[in-house]
């Protein structure tokens, strides 16, 4: 394949040297998605302070008895400002559960995607640079792995592993590493023909040194773009697993399981139990996708048309 030789600059992460440059970059970033993400990060970090009630037990009124279940949001008839977004079946405060639920979505989404990224990048570089049977083995396995549809594979793994926060992260990592491996491999294939890699080899650099000093820095931009584009899907998969009852086990609040709790009441017209967490998932994924798109255009013009 003949591809046009392109001048590749050092990846962005290595170019940022000063605070002002970081600020300049942030100024270009799309404002609304960034704000949404900052908001979610803040609510996940400070849920203990921000949440008006304990998310895992029912809200008590002044006389110490639990308030009614399925209280509506405050602007509707019968709602109160003590539970601004209403309560669920166990009289738990929905706002507090949403704030705590941000933890699960963020933690699982970010860590799962990071682990998948590390694993996939490593295998992709190995396949692309070492080549030969190593390449064949890794790529055949990747192909077979890709044939398993994401959610069905995740459910299958969830049926083997006991559901817990860390196991969900492991599942996401196992499901998503293939995306990285494929793209990084093809990039390394073209990088390894470039002069700077060949000169390093001529100068006696070992395999590990070439990978660490010459290949890894040059694929990091792509890794970042893939990361930002995968995280939204990872959050949706986590929410789906929670929705299906194989996510993080109750009573820990997760947006997906909150939506599942609200399915029955929804048919009875009590929409707030599942619509609020659904909106949260939607906004977070929308924000990460928009930011990912922006990063993609900003960092890698080659990917622009994919």
């Amino acid at each position: 394949m003949q591809t046009q030789e392109r001048v590749r600059v050092a990846p962005l992460v290595f170019r940022i040297q000063s605070f002002s440059k970081v600020m300049g970059l942030l100024r270009e970033a799309p404002l609304v998605p960034l704000l949404i993400i900052i908001l979610v990060v803040l609510s996940a970090s400070f849920a203990d302070v921000l949440a008006p009630h304990d998310p895992e037990i029912s809200v008590k009124n002044a006389s110490g008895r639990p308030v009614a279940s399925y209280l509506p949001p405050f602007w509707m008839q019968g709602g109160s400002l003590a539970t601004p977004l209403g309560t669920d079946f166990h009289s738990r405060d929905i706002l507090s559960r949403l704030l705590y639920g941000a933890r699960v979505s963020l933690l699982v989404g970010v860590v799962g995607t990071l682990v998948a990224g590390a694993l996939g990048t490593l295998l992709g570089i190995l396949a692309g640079y070492v080549g030969g049977w190593c390449d064949q083995v890794i790529m055949r396995i990747t192909d077979a792995w890709l044939a398993l549809p994401t959610l069905i594979f995740a459910i299958f793994l969830a049926s083997i592993l006991k559901p817990s926060l860390w196991n969900i992260i492991v599942i996401l990592a196992l499901v998503f590493w293939t995306r990285y491996a494929r793209v990084i491999r093809s990039q390394v294939l073209s990088l390894r023909e470039r002069y700077f890699v060949q000169l390093a080899e001529v100068n006696g650099a070992g395999t590990l040194r070439v990978i660490w000093r010459h290949l890894l820095p040059n694929v990091l931009n792509t890794v970042m773009v893939l990361f930002s584009l995968t995280i939204g899907v990872a959050i949706i998969i986590e929410a789906s697993l929670s929705f299906l009852g194989v996510g993080v086990p109750p009573p820990t609040p997760a947006w997906g399981s909150m939506m599942a709790d609200g399915r029955g009441p929804l048919i009875a017209g009590k929409w707030w139990i599942s619509v609020f967490p659904g909106l949260c998932i939607m906004l977070l994924v929308l924000a990460t996708n928009l930011l990912g798109d922006w990063l993609r255009v900003r960092l890698d013009p080659e990917l622009r048309n994919r």
């Binding site: 055949r140 044939a147 549809p149 299958f156 049926s159």
Partner: protein, 311 residues
């Protein structure tokens, strides 16, 4: 050409084989698979012993794998605890429901995605293009199960137009099909729209479209005859793959609408600890995707000579 097809078939066989290795390893990795299967309530110790013997669990891994693959080759996916019949039979009984749902979703996504994609490309940067971009983004970002719940809320509960769950009298009781199909087609319509748009843009910038315009061909004919037909090739490939993906990712939608397809079968298996069913559905889903990939590869080679002549 014959060589190309043979090589593709060989590749698919290798992929299928590796698929079984992955699934086998994943199950054995966590310890005694008989214990996984024995979580099912009411399983007696002698059932467990029978299972162990049947799957050769006291043998070394290699022998176990031999038993595993031997069963698969003979079409034996194990026996479901809850239905007390072969997994393959249960699967095949549910498959038509999923295919109906998948087809309906596919039609909806094509009906939304392709026309909007064309309009977006032809009237680039217009209001329609913005609508298209928004829809593509929403399709990617709004999870299908949220769309499903909103649909239920609007059309099932508030307006009361459509039934919120079940399948009705027969497969073709359309009222029951509308909401699940729309919620399922939602995602693909976004990606179809994106691809149609970029494919159309590429073709509209090509020499032969320019030539057609220079000749004074009416714009409508240029778009329909010259551009659209050529732009559809990559779109159709994706559409084919989306079809399978739709059938497979339908799990959540089938659960929400109590649609008795294979996705719901998998969840029923999962929730009642009926492990052979879960494993069977996963394996069949993988096999189905490998099959469709092979078909698309071969079809592509028929259409595009560059591919079949490539090494």
């Amino acid at each position: 050409m014959k060589q190309y097809i043979l090589r593709r078939i060989l590749y698919s066989m290798v992929t299928l084989w590796l698929l079984t290795v992955i699934v086998f390893t994943a199950v054995r990795f966590t310890g005694d698979p008989a214990l996984l299967m024995s979580d099912y309530p009411g399983v007696r110790p002698e059932d467990l012993a029978a299972l162990r013997a049947q799957w050769g669990l006291d043998q070394p891994y290699l022998v176990q794998y031999g038993v595993f693959i031997g069963n698969l080759v003979r079409g034996n996916l194990g026996t479901s605890f809850q239905f007390n019949m072969p997994v393959l039979d249960v699967y095949l009984r549910r498959l038509p429901n999923s295919i109906t749902l998948g087809l309906a979703a596919f039609l909806i996504s094509v009906a939304i995605g392709i026309p909007l994609g064309i309009v977006s490309a032809v009237r680039i940067n217009s209001r329609w293009d913005s609508v298209g971009k928004l829809l593509a983004l929403l399709g990617l970002s709004v999870p299908g199960f949220f769309v499903a719940l909103l649909l239920i809320l609007l059309f099932g509960v508030s307006l009361g137009w459509l039934p919120v769950m079940g399948m009705g009298q027969g497969l073709w009781d359309v009222r029951y099909l509308i909401m699940p199909a729309f919620a399922l087609g939602w995602f693909s319509s976004g990606s179809l729209l994106r691809l149609t748009r970029s494919s159309m843009l590429e073709v509209l910038g090509s020499e032969y479209v320019k030539l057609a315009r220079f000749k004074g061909t009416p714009e409508r004919v240029v778009i329909v005859k010259h551009a659209f037909r050529n732009a559809m090739l990559p779109v159709l490939t994706l559409a084919g793959l989306q079809l399978v993906n739709t059938i497979n990712v339908a799990v959540v939608i089938e659960v929400i609408f109590s649609w008795p397809g294979i996705g719901r079968l998998m969840i029923e298996g999962l929730l009642s600890r009926d492990f052979p069913v879960v494993q069977g559905v996963a394996l069949m889903a993988g096999a189905m995707i490998v099959g469709v990939n092979l078909l698309v590869d071969i079809l592509y080679a028929y259409i595009d000579p560059r591919i079949r002549l490539m090494r």
